[in-house]
């Protein structure tokens, strides 16, 4: 045991601290970014309409409940939604973000809302009773603490 602290120790310490700081900086920057298991949950008229992984790009046409009351054929991807439905929203999942690109309603609040990407965020379309939200995908008890003993 020559010295208490040697030069190599200090270098190692600095390296470790830098790694730690870099990791926390990276985590802070990506804070709120949804994990790979995040789900996009689409609710229509208060009921679950569909659930998709946030990581997969897709476009969903959601007919509003009052449309469904009349007739609800499956959305035809080849036709424009406005030609098929009177009341609808178009939800687009793309590159980890979700947005409503088209809506039948007048105020277009949901379209102007823009894209959401973080867990817990949501887009709401009141006229069509649509809620699009991102869930972090941990439905089995929710927390990390469920396994730690």
């Amino acid at each position: 045991m020559k010295q208490f602290i040697r030069k190599a120790d200090i270098i190692l310490f600095i390296v470790l601290v830098i790694v730690g700081l870099a990791a926390s900086a990276a985590l802070t920057l990506s804070h709120g970014e949804a994990g790979s298991s995040a789900k996009v949950i689409i609710e229509s008229g208060g009921d679950l309409y569909a659930r998709y992984p946030l990581a997969e790009d897709r476009t969903v046409v959601v007919p509003a409940p009052k449309q469904k009351a009349v007739d609800a054929p499956e959305a035809d991807p080849d036709e424009a939604p406005s030609a098929q439905y009177d009341y609808y929203n178009v939800v687009v999942i793309s590159g980890g973000t979700v947005s409503v690109t088209e809506a039948s309603c007048k105020n277009q609040v949901c379209v102007k809302h823009g894209a959401i990407s973080g867990p817990g965020e949501s887009i709401v379309c009141l006229p069509n009773r649509l809620v699009v939200r991102i869930d972090n995908g941990s439905e089995k008890g929710g927390g990390y603490d469920s396994v730690t003993s």
Partner: protein, 173 residues
Amino acid sequence: MTQSPRKTSARKSLSASFVARVGLMAALALIFSYVEAIIPYNPGVPGIKLGIANVVTVVALYKFGARDAAAVSIIRVVLAGLLFNGLFGMLYALAGAVVSLAGMILLNKTGLFSVTGVSMAAGVLHNLGQLLVAAALIEDLRIFFYFPVLMFSGIAAGILVGIASALVLRVLR
């Protein structure tokens, strides 16, 4: 300074002195584990703790060599797991112990680092090993949100354990 008495004794797999020595040190480490287990503090994040029992491991490494340190550490972790921490806790701790042991032995081999530095690295590696096992068990990489916290707590705990070990070694030599 590392392998003083063991070099002379025949390199048998389990000499009596090895068993006795390791048993003694494991018992001491187990007491430290117990003392730590009954201290009522809750840092909020699982995995943050001082790890005073590792003083024994570090001292064993420097005084008697890698084999003793590994034996003491593994025995201590298994027993403490069965007695205080539960099976999952044991699994985490075992992973941490193996990773940090490997790191300590390697860093010690280089001869560049002091006790404090080796112990600091061990603290960090211990937490990293635990985190990897936790990620594998929970199957959720988002647990790496804990990484920076565990990193810094590992550095701090490792340095404290290292200083304590250095003081002990200074007396023991």
